[in-house]
Amino acid sequence: MTTLEETPTVLATEQNEQGYREFSLGELHFRRDEYFVYITWPTGSHVMSADAFLRALQRDVAWEFFYGIVNFDGVIGTVNHYGTVDLFAGRYNDSYRKAELDHVENFPTPQIKATFEEMLDDWTNETFDPFAAPRETGSAFGVKNGENRKAITRHRVKAARMVSCTGDEQIRSDETGHPVNEHFVDISQDEPEIIAEPGFEDEVKAFSLFAYLSRSDVTWNPSVVSVCKDSLFCPTTEEYILPIIHGNDRVEWFVQLSDEIHWDVADRETGALRAKVVMRAGDVAAMPANIRHQGYARKRSMLLVWENADPDIPELIATGQTPTYPADF
């Protein structure tokens, strides 16, 4: 038995002319310059804007590849198999599939994670915060210019019972370095009134979720605030565009707590458009398990993402034992 996890080897070059290292995962190669990221594989090549690529990469790394597919755009992305991860080019793109030019490689999670983390670290300049809305960050562009490790390695909130519970994730304040966001200055910062009888201080617990979210310093980053077995409340604050296109491997639910988000919904496999969904405060809607979705929010909004983390679901859906939509009626 080994007590230390083996550190995976990251395949990277020395700095290129623009000061950035180049990375390889199997037969896929990643390179960046002042404006762009270039991805090549044996049967094709692809270019993405460096800021869009880094925003997507940041989510994929922070969420440990999330549930199902994280499409960086219509060509590049990852599929989480919870232990291993597929890295693909064109696999969920109808044209690449038909031309048989798509490419998929599977990696142990620690290997792709270590490579993505180093890429994110090397390619994020000190002026850029990939978690921030465009109005809150400087430029991702230019030749290599410092680092922003503080931004890209933020603490990931993962409550075990509920935020504010004893020994669990705590509420946010100015003191914890979470000032109220400019878009949420009208959100009340009052906390609930709690009267706990002696001996029950650990069980009589409540907090203001709205105040907590008004102090979120990241966008499009669902993180767990309450846990009922496999049922996870993962609220997040959304502004501008979801930097990835999420392909579900299970039904996912949205509860719009404030403001408005527009969703593009497309086929999970091909990317063909299926529906546009507009959600306003109080709306509740499911994202079926056979689609991909991307959201747009003009004003920072509070979205409650609700997940069922049961590890058996992808298999149940893939084998047709559980439907891709939430209810029959």
Partner: protein
């Protein structure tokens, strides 16, 4: 300056679905305030379901019955001012088995030690601890979203609450 738009029982504007190539029912799209407006006090209407797990909307009005579950539940107040009373049950097994799902009604007053009270407003979230009894009370109608598991009193009325055609 930006104004944050939340909604309430008498002020909500539902969004919608523009279908290109799909069945709107697959999105089970509803609005919690519309659901609560059509509900009797403290009916527990399922608005979201993922296998056994549910999100249920309660129209909070007056005093609720006492309820208990063998697992943690969570109450997110989405309208009104709600007082939550908690009691540590002397004998939770007389109300449910450890493996049961969802909450069950307690007849009359629960027998056990008072744990405390929580006064929660819109946007506040409270823990409803496993094996305790809880009761809600409001002076004005409000809305509570419960994170739980489907139980004997969970009401599914999808066709009434969801967008079925566009």
């Amino acid at each position: 300056m930006f104004e944050t738009k939340t909604a309430s029982l008498d002020d909500y504007t539902k969004g919608g679905i523009e279908v290109i190539d799909d069945d709107p029912k697959h999105y089970a799209f509803s609005n919690m305030y519309e659901v609560a407006n059509a509900s009797k006090p403290y009916e527990s209407v399922v608005v979201a379901m993922n296998r056994q797990y549910t999100l249920e909307i309660l129209r909070a009005e007056g005093e609720s019955e006492w309820r208990t579950a063998p697992h943690d539940e969570f109450a997110l107040v989405m309208g009104g001012e709600v007082t939550i009373r908690l009691v540590k049950l002397d004998n939770p097994r007389s109300h449910h088995d450890p493996g049961d799902s969802g909450s069950r009604r307690i007849d009359g007053e629960p027998s056990g030690e008072p744990m405390g009270t929580i006064k929660a407003k819109k946007g506040h979230m409270a823990l409803l601890p496993a094996d305790s009894a809880y009761q809600f009370q409001t002076d004005e109608p409000g809305v509570i979203l419960i994170q739980t598991i489907k139980g004997p009193d969970s009401i599914e009325r999808w066709a009434d609450i969801c967008i079925t055609t566009v």
